[in-house]
């Protein structure tokens, strides 16, 4: 057993038992981040804060929410929105955060793609990040079922129907997922359980993995420069902070993060109070009615691009294309055959590929919401094919890339 002395202060008492000084050193004071970064490097912090907001507001919402097909709608729209003091605020924050978190996730992803932050030892950062994207998606979808409005019910119907399309039809998979022939009490209960227990736990676990995966390869920088972190840290600690290429996580990196976060939060709370409609679809304020199909059924905006890839084709091909779109991002580190881990701007054809992919996904997102008729349908199919072709071309484009 270690030797303990009479503590001289609370700090000392804790330090002897928990080693808080060492923790602080490893996690903050001497956790090195490159200096050459821009505000896009603060997206991780914003995501962490958004997730915390979702967790806290979700906990309070759960105190009044009733997962029952007869009472769910009124427990949200009457009890939480009208009766519980500030219940409306918690719901608005929860809904707006659930939507904007995906905007930040997409910015975070495309930042990673642009700066090549999935290459040369950073593959696990990318893969754990994509795992987070998938668990967040499942979390968002299961949460959307809970108010049991028309869009909850019918989006639940349409998305779980995916598992009965084409050749999947025969094996009863969709009934197993729903626990019934149509979305009903069993369906609502299981999505509630997933949303409030299993998926948040999974998200927290994968966040741990994501943070851990950053430790060894370190955070990338704006120029893709390979930094000798030990050498630069020595320089920093000797007092030569100006010429050192690294900064400490706290307070150097943190102060920049906090500034970016504060600007984002200003925008976020403006949305929460004055412009929340985009996150609370009007159709979902009609209670679920299994006899009345809404004219237009669409998922939340962050699923639109993959939804449009799905509906562009016939059942079997659509499912394959959809599955392709869901998993292909995981393979990015291995499909990119280029020896360069530098910003896209210095990578020739890859730069073109990056912007094409981004624009194509925006087009898919827009077409995913619009009714699939006439030219909207044609544009959607072209964009879906473009998406697949772009990913097939990626290894060839990057293989021919010259070392910079």
């Amino acid at each position: 057993m270690a030797h303990f002395t009479k503590a001289t202060s609370v700090h000392d008492w804790l330090n002897q038992r928990l080693g808080i000084d060492a923790v602080r050193r490893v996690m903050a004071k001497e956790y090195w981040i490159p200096k050459n970064i821009n505000f896009l490097w603060a997206m991780g912090m914003i995501l962490a804060v958004m997730f915390t907001l979702l967790l806290v507001t979700g906990l309070f919402l759960m105190m009044y929410y009733q997962p029952n097909v007869h009472t769910a709608f009124d427990s949200v729209n009457n009890v939480i929105m009208r009766q519980v003091p500030y219940g409306w605020l918690f719901r608005n924050i929860h809904a707006v955060a659930a939507s904007t978190v995906f905007l930040i996730i997409y910015i975070h992803m495309f930042t990673g793609i642009y700066y090549g932050s999935y290459k040369k030892g950073r593959e696990m950062i990318w893969i754990s990040g994509m795992l987070l994207f998938v668990t967040f998606s499942a979390e968002a979808f299961s949460g959307y079922m809970l108010p049991w409005g028309q869009m909850s019910y019918w989006a639940g119907m349409v998305i779980t129907n995916l598992f009965s399309l084409g050749s999947l039809h025969a094996n009863g998979l969709v009934e197993w997922i729903r626990g019934d022939y149509v979305p009903s009490q069993a369906f609502l209960n299981r999505f509630f359980a997933l949303h409030v227990v299993l998926l948040p736990l999974a998200v927290i676990g994968v966040i741990g993995l994501h943070f851990g995966s950053l430790r060894i390869p370190h955070v990338n920088n704006q120029e893709g420069e390979e930094i000798d972190f030990e050498e630069e840290a020595k320089k920093y600690k000797s007092g030569d902070k100006k010429s050192s290429k690294v900064i400490a996580f706290a307070n150097d990196f943190l102060s920049k993060d906090m500034f970016v976060l504060s600007v984002f939060l200003l925008f976020f709370f403006w949305l929460v109070f004055y412009h929340y409609e985009f996150a609370l679809d009007p159709i979902n304020f009609d209670p679920a009615d299994s006899l009345k199909t809404p004219t237009h059924i669409y998922p939340e905006w962050y699923f639109l691009w993959s939804y449009d890839i799905l509906r562009g084709f016939s059942a079997n091909i659509g499912l394959i294309a959809f599955a392709f779109a869901q998993v292909i991002f995981f393979f990015l580190p291995f499909l990119d055959r280029s020896p360069n881990a530098v910003p896209a701007r210095r990578r020739g054809l890859f730069f073109v590929w990056f912007w094409l992919l981004l624009f194509d996904m925006i087009v898919l997102t827009i077409m995913g919401k619009l009714p699939p008729e006439g030219s909207f349908r044609t544009i959607g199919i072209v964009a879906a094919i473009t998406f697949i072709v772009l990913w097939i071309l990626l290894p060839f484009i990057t293989k021919s890339e010259k070392k910079v």
């Binding site: 200096k35 821009n38 505000f39 896009l40 729209n77 009457n78 929105m81 009208r82 409306w88 605020l89 608005n92 905007l103 910015i107 902070k241 100006k242 900064i247 307070n251 150097d252 102060s255 920049k256 906090m258 500034f259 976060l261 504060s262 600007v263 939060l265 200003l266 709370f269 403006w270 929460v272 109070f273 004055y274 409609e277 985009f278 609370l280 009007p282 159709i283 979902n284 304020f285 009609d286 209670p287 004219t295 237009h296 905006w301 639109l304 981004l358 925006i362 997102t365 827009i366 919401k369 619009l370 009714p371």
Partner: protein, 311 residues
């Protein structure tokens, strides 16, 4: 400079995406009609100035209104319960106390002359299924003058404009067909507080019976309007009330003929039912905005202080 460029690119791309998936997509999916400001331009203008005294005589006498309608402010009590009234007519015959304050005068005149036509539901009724209220064929004099007199009488007894509360406007114009259960409103009136379970069951049973009759009369039960301000929005509600056939060709929902002020009060009632925290939201929002503006300034100063040593 590069950071600003990145920010501009993100803002532009996000705004374009937002524009297409929200305002543009919704305008593609849902048609929207401009408000006609409750002018009812298709109805003929009133040609005669009405005399409330003569109107009163007609309403109580030759017009035979009080055979079915109560007028509580004039001391004419309802002879039937809402349920019995619905059993007789399919829907409760309304009390006329405040009709003059809620309905447009031109509409009232056209309605007295030909109810189903004024409501734009004439195609729903015929000899086998007559509209519950008969047309007024005149009491021997100039029919237009007589109608103008009756309208003038109804306007003279109704509450003044400033006393037409959202609740009164809603109950008069919409409440006999639509429930709003978040406000405890049923088609047969406000749900009272019950001491005994049997009283509650009795009341619920009456509501159900009324709803069944209403469903038979209209073809389907009119929806509960609790959350309509959120699911449809103010513009849809007021333009739909103005002319239901615009949005839903062939709907059993009649044109109610409310005037602009009453429509405004009905929307206020629904806003209070479906979005009662609006005022609280907007006033709290201001303080939160101020808090975060200060937060941004403080965070900026801190960042500058810390980074002074780093550059």
């Amino acid at each position: 400079v590069r950071e600003f460029l990145i920010l501009i690119i993100i803002v532009v791309l996000t705004s374009i995406t937002y524009y297409f998936i929200e305002p543009f997509a919704h305008s593609e999916m849902h048609k929207s009609f401009p408000s006609k400001h409750f002018k009812y331009a298709d109805l003929p203008a009133m040609q005669y100035k009405g005399d409330p005294v003569k109107g009163k005589a007609l309403v109580m006498g030759a017009g035979a209104c009080t055979g079915c309608h109560s007028i509580e402010v004039a001391g004419i009590k309802p002879s039937m319960t809402p349920l019995a009234s619905a059993q007789a007519y399919g829907v409760e015959a309304p009390d006329l106390s405040d009709a003059g304050a809620v309905y447009d005068a031109k509409f009232l005149a056209a309605y007295i002359a030909d109810p189903a036509k004024a409501m734009l539901v004439a195609d729903k009724y015929g000899p086998n299924h007559p509209f519950p209220m008969p047309k007024f064929y005149g009491a021997g004099g100039n029919i237009h003058q007589e109608i103008a007199d009756m309208v003038a009488y109804l306007q003279s007894i109704a509450v003044p404009k400033e006393k037409l509360t959202p609740k009164l406007a809603f109950e008069t114009a919409c409440g006999r067909c639509h429930a709003v259960h978040y406000e405890n409103w049923t088609q047969i009136g406000q749900t009272p507080k019950f001491k005994h379970r049997v009283d509650k069951l009795e009341f619920d049973s009456k509501v159900l019976q009324y709803q069944t009759l209403l469903k038979k009369h209209l073809g389907s039960l009119p929806p509960d309007l609790s959350m309509y301000i959120r699911s449809r929005g103010e513009h849809f509600i007021s333009t739909f009330v103005e002319d239901p056939q615009n949005y839903l060709k062939g709907t059993a929902m009649p044109r109610t003929g409310v005037n602009a002020h009453a429509a405004h009060q009905v929307v206020a009632y629904l806003e209070n039912a479906g979005d009662p925290k609006k005022a609280e939201r907007e006033s709290l929002g201001k303080y939160v905005m101020i808090y975060f503006i200060i937060f941004v300034l403080a965070a900026y100063l801190w960042k500058r202080e810390v980074w002074k040593e780093l550059h």
